[in-house]
Symmetry: C2
Subunit: 346 residues, 2 copies
DNA sequence: CGATTTATTGATAGACATCAACGCGGGTGG
DNA sequence: CCACCCGCGTTGATGTCTATCAATAAATCG
């Protein structure tokens, strides 16, 4: 029978939730404060944890952080119970690695449904294969093998399109490994325009650049599609790094490659015309896109990637279409003449 | 008595050079081919090596490369003898780590003078203190201590203002550590404009980004002032990296910081006006400049740093002067109102 | 199907590159 | 020692590229 741990200050509510879940056939462990909750989570290893955001001693986010750092409990689905789901709470919850949010008050059925859905979702995830992660092959060394072990012990979280993964200037607690979907990292200007500094495809790490620095995030990250990611605790990775030299060197190589990419973008931004920049962006997107060379990306993001205004994107795209370089249907773009785009001159 | 090794194919010339140097009071070791030369260099450890660029088996550049990789011979001053000093030879020589070039034919006195000057120069260099190199403190770990040891065993070379250190797409053999002067790294566009991707001040490493990648240089490096650098053999550094985890992590941190800098520049280039970009460049230059806040930099380089046209630089500087932000005398710029520059709006 | 977001098109103005001319110093060679 | 040239910096006139504002059209979503 599935065991569910509930952490909730209010004895009345705790009893109520317990009853609902027991009636649905779950075994329930109850904790009236966070310390007890953490201990019970570690000793009982429940199938799921329900936890109030507001607790007397350590708050819900703190509980989640502690359990995330412990390898044996990091993978347990963690659902927040809270009176209000303000954007701020959701933001903080995602940053800590929460799986779901249930807002009080709720109908009994809703709670059960959420719990069931979450447990089922996490059942499937364990079988996801890790291979060729950002050019990691297990035979490349003991360290990379250990890294793959570590990753496979981490919890997978899913975030929806347009949801933020983290925000600029927030404290960074995780290294992310994207499994599915697409994540963009961006910086905002004072007047609200975005510059997209990175566009991450499956099998790549997000956050390597702040891994060893104590700095907070220097950019925000947002899902452009529904995405699944491994949340890898920074402290665990750092422990691994301290033991395995080749892992460090692998990361150095990734960072070096990133640096070179950025430098190329720099010179492009400085001296190339907008036309050429947009063409380059299309070429780059095409390279690591699905084989159908059909890009599903909104104008806003193209503008952010090329560093130009949305209206100009629109204009240039129609121009490209008239010249037979691309085809458009809706917001989808199909590249017809890749060579023509590459050879685009200012 | 100082021992000098001469490597020269032609027996007549070899004899002639030997006589000249013997008459000036040097002990001379002669080698008629490169293999012998290398062996003698290692066994005798001469005070200086004279070597023809053109040799029968391994050419002069090859000899220098081999000796540079050997810790016991890397520090020996190495002077090329060549019939013509074409820019191409000088370029290749500098890339390999040559100290000087003497062009044949020459007067006997010239050879002696070059040799003496070189030996004296290299006498002084051994005492240069390495401290706080790019935030390296010896107490930060065994690896950093070893790194400092390694660096102190490396030869220091001096390159003059406007001389190139390396060229884009050349093979990279060294990691450089700047001691004195200033080095800029730049990329060129097809139409000859330059984008300066890095401006290195003393105590910083140059070439970290290609250290672990087998790629050739992706940018060129040029001295903006007379500069002195340690030439650190890549293979030696890599050996050290394989032994010391914390050294890798130190480099990861430097690379991460570089990456963040580049990202900041990206968003600036994309969305800020040229006025603001130039102001930022001045602020950045001022930060790590001499305390007198007097910048000696030509318009061309300001343009390359901000990614704008030289004429525009000129125009904006006069505007800044009229507003009392800076003062100009000749090509020197003095910042009057730093805060005003920082607060510059588009 | 209406409402709201997202994309396109047009008109306009401003910013900046480009071409061209000119002044200034410093080095070079007669 | 002076004239000359060359590189560098400044200034002016001009044209073009692209952001911005505004209006409309299309598409997406509930």
């Amino acid at each position: 029978m599935k065991n569910i741990l509930i952490i909730e200050n209010d004895p009345d509510l705790l009893g109520k939730y317990s009853d609902i879940l027991r009636n649905s056939g779950y075994e329930v462990t109850a904790a009236l404060n966070s310390k007890l909750g953490i201990n019970l989570a570690i000793s009982k290893l429940p199938s799921l944890i329900l936890c109030n955001t507001v607790l007397s001693d350590i708050d819900g986010f703190g509980v989640l952080s502690v359990l995330s750092r412990n390898p044996s409990t990091t993978k347990i689905p963690f659902v927040f119970l809270n009176a209000l789901s303000t954007p701020d709470i959701v933001k903080k919850g995602i940053a800590c690695g929460a799986d779901d949010f249930v807002t009080k008050p709720f109908q009994g059925g809703q709670l059960v449904r959420s719990v069931e859905a979450r447990i089922n979702k996490n059942k499937n995830q364990t079988s996801l294969p890790i291979s060729e992660v950002d050019n990691i092959h297990p035979h490349n060394g003991k360290g990379l093998e250990k890294l793959i072990d570590l990753i496979s012990q981490c919890k997978i979280r899913h975030i929806k399109k347009k949801q933020m993964l983290y925000y600029e200037s927030d404290h960074s607690q995780w290294l992310y490994l994207l499994i599915e979907g697409c994540i963009k990292t961006l910086k905002l200007t004072d007047d609200g325009r975005q510059m997209i500094t990175g566009l991450y495809k499956p099998k790549s790490f997000i956050g390597l650049d702040t891994l060893l620095l104590d700095d907070p995030w220097l950019e925000s990250a947002e899902a452009t599609q529904n995405s699944s990611l491994y949340f890898i605790s920074k402290s665990a990775i750092i422990d691994l790094l301290n033991e395995h030299v080749e892992l460090n060197q692998h990361f150095i190589k990734i960072l070096s490659a990133n640096l070179h990419e950025k430098e190329d973008q720099l010179i492009e931004l400085a001296y190339e015309s907008v036309r050429k920049r947009l063409a380059q962006v299309l070429v780059r997107l095409n390279k690591d896109a699905v084989p159908i060379d059909q890009l599903d990306i909104c104008r806003d993001e193209l503008a952010g990637l090329a560093g130009i205004a949305i209206e100009t994107v629109s204009r240039i795209l129609t121009d490209f279409k008239e010249r037979g370089l691309i085809e458009r249907n809706g917001s989808q773009i199909q590249i017809i003449d890749l060579y023509g785009l590459i050879k685009m001159k200012s």
